[in-house]
């Protein structure tokens, strides 16, 4: 199971990559393997304010719809149009082209409170 060391993770299986005050969010390799075959991604509206834990996007497999939660509070600045067009990117490249949304974080220090790779690894094993 791929868990990049340079990312942060929360307990509902989202990852966060912080660049400046912009956080890119996606779901982990473990999460995509559990969901299998992503066939649809519903993106959040740009400009929406989300708080940590808010249902923010929806990822759907053939069998079920799963909420994707905001791992950090902030304002949505972008949804990934590529996963809307090709939802399977969430399966094939969960940490790269399969990212789901970006948000401008309110409090950069909050990112430090998320799990590091080792802690996430421990949680899922």
């Amino acid at each position: 199971m791929n868990i990049p060391a340079d990312l942060r993770y929360n307990n509902s299986h989202e990852w966060v990559r912080l660049e400046g005050d912009i956080a890119t969010v996606g779901i982990t390799d473990h999460a995509q393997a559990e969901l299998t075959d992503v066939v649809f991604v519903e993106l959040p509206a740009v400009g929406r304010q989300v708080d940590l834990g808010d249902p923010t996007a929806v990822v759907e497999s053939v069998k079920a719809a799963s909420d994707i939660y905001a791992p950090i509070s902030g304002e949505i600045v972008e949804g990934n149009p590529e996963v809307e067009a090709d939802p399977a990117l969430v399966n094939t490249d969960p940490y790269g082209k399969g990212w789901i949304f970006k948000l401008r974080v309110k409090d950069i220090a909050a990112v430090e409170k998320l799990m590091d790779a080792a802690a996430y690894q421990a949680m899922i094993s």
Partner: protein
């Protein structure tokens, strides 16, 4: 359901094959092994094998069996030659569907019914309540393990394992002995592809699952079973059929013989036929790319008036578009009628289409 889950005799074999197990109809069953999309494609293009041990088997035997079954079921069992089967339905007095099933004639006086997992108790209870003295009933559901081998290569898989046994023609049944084991093979399925359902003693089930896999069949779960049957527009009892809805409303009039004599529910169906239906189960297909439709999503007119809800829905893996079924008021049932489906507040436009949604190459013979 709060009751304890029932377990397939194949459970350990599923886990060994990497299945993801879920509760379904009171049973703990594999929903998928690796990928619903891959399993679905295997059945459409090659061959897959499903555990159907949860389904029920009821034997109906006796001098009065044929005439009694004609009073209990909507289809005409007198049309069956020995070795043939037919799709039929068991109705309540209101014409509502207790269960849909396949009934096979094994001799002049012996019939074998394969019924839905979640309905075994109700079916058997209903039959026993109406049982005459010259008919014996046996619920053999616990005795048999069942496997459905489905796909264009199903007959080749069968021939590999049983070179000396001829598969029966479509809807046929053959009971045979193989190395001392009693086995049953029925040329039917729930996918629209060629294939067969295979029953062995419960304890032998895991060995046969592995044998079919070794002969080339991909293990498939209930997820693919559902998407495959929905592409064909086949109803699932509990979703698309219920005790409050008749087979005519479900679009299953082809299987109802109103001319064979009386049967339970017949007067209700005859009245519906002469008065006309007020609602009907229709196929709906998305006109745009959208979130997968699912059971219970609301169906509306393009103006936003609620006219029903989906009884089943899925993103069709073969068509890569949303498909579903819904009971709609008759004025909205005409082919081509436009509707919209509400998915978490977003509306996706769809239209009424003819079933099946997907056409297979399986021979109709």
């Amino acid at each position: 359901m709060s009751e304890e889950l029932l377990h397939s005799p194949l459970e350990a074999a599923h886990i060994e094959l990497g299945a993801k197990m879920v509760p379904f109809g009171g049973w703990y069953m594999p929903v998928q092994y690796t990928s619903i999309l891959d399993e679905h494609a295997a059945v459409r293009k090659q061959v897959g094998v499903f555990d159907i041990s949860h389904m029920g088997q009821i034997v109906i035997e006796g001098l009065g069996a044929e005439s009694w079954l004609n009073r209990m079921l909507v289809n005409n069992v007198s049309k069956l030659q020995v070795g043939q089967g037919q799709y039929s339905l068991l109705l309540n007095e209101r014409g509502g569907v207790i269960d849909d099933l396949i009934i096979y004639r094994e001799s002049e006086t012996r019939f074998f019914a394969v019924v839905n997992a979640s309905r075994i108790e109700q079916d058997f209870f209903w039959m026993a309540q109406h049982q005459p003295e010259d008919v014996a009933l046996a619920n053999e559901s616990d005795l048999w393990a069942g496997l459905a081998v489905q796909g264009p290569l199903a007959a080749a898989v069968f021939a590999r394992l049983f070179p000396n046994v001829t598969l029966p023609p479509r809807n046929g049944i053959v009971r045979f002995t193989h190395e001392g084991q009693e086995l049953i093979v029925c040329r039917t399925g729930y996918t629209g592809e060629d294939g067969f359902e295979f029953f062995s003693a419960a304890g032998e089930g895991p060995t046969w699952l592995k044998a079919f896999v070794a002969a080339g069949a991909k293990p498939c779960g209930l997820g693919a079973r559902d998407s495959l049957r929905l592409e064909m527009g086949y109803p699932l009892n509990g979703n698309d059929l219920s005790e409050e809805l008749t087979p005519l409303e479900a679009g299953l009039g082809f299987f109802v013989d109103l001319d064979k004599g009386d049967f339970i529910g017949r007067d209700v169906l005859a009245a519906q036929k002469s008065n006309g239906l007020t609602r009907k189960l229709v196929g709906l297909q998305y006109l745009e790319k959208g979130a997968p439709p699912r059971a219970h999503y609301t169906v509306e007119t393009p103006a936003g008036e609620v006219i029903g809800e989906l009884s089943s829905g899925v993103l069709s893996p073969s068509l890569m578009t949303g498909i579903g079924m819904a009971y709609l008021p008759i004025e909205h049932c005409k082919l081509g009628t436009q509707v919209q489906i509400d998915v978490r507040g977003r509306k996706f436009s769809a239209k009424v289409v003819k079933k099946p949604f997907y056409k297979t190459n399986a021979k109709a013979s």
